[in-house]
């Protein structure tokens, strides 16, 4: 099928052959879809995204992208590599590793220049990106001096700069203040409205409804334990609690301590 961007069949991966991180994953992500991968810490979300971006390769099972198989030998082909890299953008969980140039500006230009754009075209893209998230004041600063939120914005722009068809984000909002979260979500939704496919890994349920139509829930056995419509899964508090995705809040009422689960969503849906 043409409109399937990623198709995974029975994919398993383990680190160093002994630490399992993915077990028997099946998945199909369609063009223009917003998908979220949620799960507690260490359930394999980042690992899955790295498989999708062709940075690591499964021990068994197959990954297809744009109808072709994604393997190490396929990526050795220059045309395939260039094509794939220009179609898929990846925002890493750790912005420190993603920003490796001397200045933020060069980091944003890095992708476009690698993919063969002229400096003039690349600069035009930079200007256009500043309309989405304005970080003009940061452009000439070295990335390692920025705050976490500033780094995240720079990292997202540096991935958007290659104008990918698919944007993969690993924990894009972890540890950021509400205004910055808003800016980032808006940028992502904006990209989706132009037909870009969005795949996000997160355990921040606040943002799931906005950035996802479909949700894949990873369990502690490193398998997909449920997938489906975002709103439906978010309503199932018992299920989310069983997967360590909702807080157990403890409140003090008068002299009694009473403990109940708390999914946050009820409070935040407008």
């Amino acid at each position: 099928m043409d409109n399937i961007i990623f198709e995974l069949k029975n994919v398993s991966f383990s680190y160093l052959g002994k630490y399992p991180a993915l077990r028997g994953i099946d998945m199909a992500i369609k063009k223009g879809q917003k998908a979220a991968v949620i799960g507690a810490n260490g359930t394999g979300k980042s690992t899955l995204l790295e498989v999708l971006d062709g940075l690591i390769f499964p021990d068994s099972g197959t990954v297809k992208t744009f109808g072709e198989e994604l393997t190490e030998s396929a990526l050795a082909d220059k045309d395939f590599l260039r094509n794939f890299r220009s179609k898929v953008g990846f925002v890493f969980q750790n912005s420190d590793v993603q920003l490796f140039c001397p200045t933020v500006k060069e980091d944003i230009l890095f992708g476009p220049l690698q993919l063969g754009l002229s400096p003039k075209e690349a600069n035009a893209r930079l200007e256009a990106l500043m309309e989405i998230i304005d970080i003009r004041v940061l452009l000439d600063r070295p990335p390692h001096h920025l705050s976490m939120g500033e780094k995240k914005k720079a990292a997202i722009l540096s991935s958007l700069a290659i104008e990918p068809e698919v944007l993969i984000l690993d924990e894009p909002t972890a540890g950021l203040d509400p205004a910055t979260v808003r800016q980032i979500i808006d940028a992502v939704i904006d990209a989706n409205s132009f037909g870009k496919t969005i795949i996000t890994a997160t355990h921040d349920l606040h943002i799931v409804e906005e950035i996802a139509d479909i949700v894949y829930v990873f369990g502690s056995d490193r398998r997909i334990c449920r997938y489906g419509d975002a709103a439906e899964i978010l309503k199932d508090t018992e299920f989310l609690k069983a997967n360590n995705l909702v807080h157990i809040h403890s409140h003090r009422h008068k002299e009694q301590i009473h403990i109940h689960s708390h999914s946050h969503i009820e409070h935040h849906v407008p």
């Binding site: 220059k78 220009s86 890493f92 490796f100 993919l115």
Partner: protein
Amino acid sequence: MSNSNRFIERSIMGALSFLKEAIYADEYASRKGFLQGLDPRIKAVTFILFLTQILLTKSVIVLLFLYALCLLLAKISRIDLWFFLKRTWVFIPLFTLFVAIPSLFSAFSPGEALITFKIFGINFIITRQGFQGAVLFVARVITSVSFAVLLSITTRHFQLLKVLRIFKIPQVFVMVIGMCYRYIYLFVEIIENTYRAVKSRAGASIHYKKGQSIAAWNIAYLWARSYQLNEEVYNAMLSRGYSGEPVVSDDFKAKAKDWLWLFCVSLMFIAAAAYL
């Protein structure tokens, strides 16, 4: 914490922040000064000429002249001279201690006695040849270090890497240097953070035996962590289309100014060679 512990702590933190500042002050490379405006290739060639001259000359006068020129270049490249002096002279004590001071004495540099003194009944003789040799040595070190530092702080590291490629240095080396540059910084940050974390968890005092084992564990952890970081940074580069050759945003173009500068430096080189 005992006083000596605090002293060690301060020195460690001081050394780390110095290292960070010393290697990562990118701001100078983006100022609009004389050296920043030159074509990186031509700049590199002329600095190699300077360094060759420094190594070949036996005249302290020539070295002093070159050193003055270097400070002048720093000045017109809008580099804070005080910062520059601090950064370059910090290397001198090390060299002086291990090379220059022993060479002062007759045992290493035989010749006319200049100064003689006695410690614990042993005669120390500083010879004239030894003294001249030591002065020449120190002058040579400070001048070459100054030029090397000046080149590195007025050039973007990506451009330096590209110049290395143009000079036909194999790809692997260039890539390794590039990686080192990027992740020494992360490495330093990890040391700082781990150090702070240990301090905050262990409170005010760590028994020194315990401190030692934490340090040993940390070093093992650091190697593993830095290896992993290296891999992650590399992945991040791959993900954005890197396939072995970094593309630098402005492709180099030598202008009249660059050729004029190359001409002047070459002329000076030849003149000095004739004079010697």
